[in-house]
Symmetry: C2
Subunit: 391 residues, 2 copies
């Protein structure tokens, strides 16, 4: 992806296209994290409730101000959370351990160690330090760090644009009432929402009939306008062959994958023209969504410049399986599961039903992968669920 500039308040979820280096020390001055009195720590050594230290109050630090006074031995300066610790002082004793004797005398009933309750000028970030790395996807706290450093505009990767084509003579626009044999165009909407959820920009190109010329023209348009093209609908042998023929007709197109050993999602096609990946997805929504979760989510992350795949993996939730599941070997099975709160752990409950049903996906909280080399999983077994991300 190319780069673009995002204003600070629009950076949530965007991916950094370069390292953020701290232009200055943060917070930049010694800062107290408590309310209390700035003192020389040494003056409090040995202080207890029965034998408090008596210190002379020589002033108060105003918030946002550079204190004018210096704290000498035996002196204390009143200070509020976030205030700048005055010169001479090397610690702040919490107000809870201070007892005001009169206007100018405070009794300190607890010893503090040097630097206690004080953030040093470069404790958060040192000038020149790499604060956030290229490829990092910004969370709310990361946006806060940028604010703290005065970074008001951030260079991020452009969001990947995904051209979406929904094919099939049986598919009609959602606004229309299907006649028997027809279905509404679900995939344009699920795949667009999926792109949004994965921080990409959907570019729905609309419906396409099972027609060579029309599909070819739409694919060419997609290749021109987007960073990747997704064609859904090629589940049947006929439409798959049509899609392949269209790929072949476009010069420079290379077929990379023709069928994947997964279920559902087997008839998936992957091709490329130059650096642009083209995916032929199953027409069944449930199958297309499984392929999207398993392949297209990491693909979009990579395309969008994200280098923090580990983070994404953390959407994998350990759970215990509620019942045996059989599985044909030779392919990875992706089982839709519900996550139920068990006794201190999650229970993964498989949702059965024909793979063409959308309803099973609606009931599911995530997917469970059964490896191609196993013939199933046992009740009570510890498994890892790929939880659907919610925005």
């Amino acid at each position: 992806m190319g780069e673009e500039i995002a204003p600070l308040d629009k950076t949530l979820g965007r991916v950094l296209s370069g390292d953020i280096v701290s232009p200055e020390d943060l917070p930049g001055f010694p800062r107290t994290v408590v309310d209390g009195y700035a003192i020389r720590a040494k003056d409090s050594f040995g202080a207890t409730e029965s034998l408090p230290a008596l210190l002379e109050i020589v002033g108060e630090v105003g918030m946002g101000q550079v204190p004018s006074m210096t704290v000498a031995a035996g002196q204390a300066v009143k200070i509020s959370t976030g205030g700048m610790v005055p010169k001479g002082a090397d610690g702040v004793v919490m107000v809870e351990y201070c007892h005001l004797m009169d206007q100018t005398t405070v009794e300190v009933s607890r010893a503090i160690s040097p630097q206690e309750n004080v953030i040093q000028p470069d404790d958060d970030f040192k000038k020149g330090a790499v604060v956030l790395r290229k490829g990092w996807k910004l969370r709310s706290q990361d946006v806060g760090v940028l604010a703290g450093l005065g970074v008001t505009e951030v260079t991020v990767y452009r969001k990947p644009r995904v051209a979406i084509i929904s094919t099939g003579d049986e598919v009609i626009p959602v606004q229309e009432k299907p006649k028997p044999g027809q279905v509404r165009d679900i995939n344009t909407y699920t795949l667009s929402a999926f792109c949004t959820k994965e921080s990409a920009e959907p570019v729905p190109l609309g419906l396409c009939r099972d027609d060579f010329e029309q599909l070819r023209n739409m694919l060419l348009k997609g290749l021109e306008t987007a960073d990747t093209v997704w064609i859904s609908g090629g589940s049947s042998v006929g439409t798959r062959d049509l899609t392949l023929k269209v790929f072949e007709s476009i010069e420079g197109t290379e077929l990379l994958v023709h069928g994947i050993s997964i279920s559902p999602g087997k008839p998936t096609i992957i091709a490329r023209k130059g650096a642009t990946a083209v995916f032929g997805l199953p027409g069944h929504t449930a199958s297309a969504m499984v392929v999207a979760e398993v392949f297209l989510a990491p693909f979009l992350a990579r395309l969008g410049g994200e280098t923090t795949f580990g983070q994404r993996l953390q959407n994998r939730v350990p759970a215990r399986l509620s019942r045996n599941i059989e599985s044909a070997s030779g392919r990875d099975d992706f089982i839709r599961v519900r996550l139920i709160q068990g006794d201190g752990e999650w229970i993964a409950e498989p949702i059965f039903g024909k793979s063409g049903l959308i309803s099973t996906l609606v009931e599911a909280d995530g997917l469970l992968r059964i490896d191609r080399n196993t013939e199933g999983l046992y009740q009570g077994q510890q498994v890892e669920v790929m939880k659907f991300k919610q925005i």
Copy 2:
């Protein structure tokens, strides 16, 4: 919240304000999930590779068409995935088990049971069934279901509007260069991003000095324009007292909570005026963010009409603790942790550092709660990490 209408392509992440009832059967016709031949299942009974059934091909189903023919005993009709199963047929045998003898004869080498590979007209959703419930936050697959049912406009709850006020004489706009003692306004940006992440609409009202009249006016403005008001900055005794005085000065304001037994986040204030909740948050970004994750995320979900708290809880990831952590009893401690992939499980590694540092939050993947009744956790102990949500 009130309701508003969202067009289908803008419903991702929105919360339904009413049940979605299926206006029709889905898919509405008997539909094959495989390529093959629609037959009477009975005709295949006993068929094997060595003793195949011979059937007469009487036509082909066009995609999106109502088949004109009826399948009689001994007959077969060619059909592609997603096609409408013709009358008379009660199952589809996969093309892999069919061998074409000549133009009109197919050899079937495997028996199918009645309804095999066929989705019934109401298998996905029955007319009148509740498909998605009020309070459900829509995911991509849910958007797909709405598309499938022809629901092009959806009634959802309005997003909660959150007025954000950042207080403190030491706080300056992010565009400015802080003098010693001053800090840039981090909280407006973290809290705004937090709202966006939690599907709420931030309304930043800007900076406020530690001044009774100014804070009062800004709070009144927030109460007028937003559904909840968040004031950050009242960590010190002085500013907290100021905030409390301002609350008291507004008629009908009720103080609900004044300090919470958590760390960080203790000086949190909760008040309300009528149905509008007002939160006084700590000034330290790290503390404010902990309060936000622990209290404000579920609060916003509730305010936004979400009834699917269980889903949200699934952001809790089981992990094993990498080392002992001490904790003061009498308060819940929220420890920032990194999640590291261990051997088939997550390892939670505490991040230590002064609570006022933002850097510790940037390094963290989530929070670990230590209950007020325990004095710490042991290395190797099984814990649950509240993972920060990423958008």
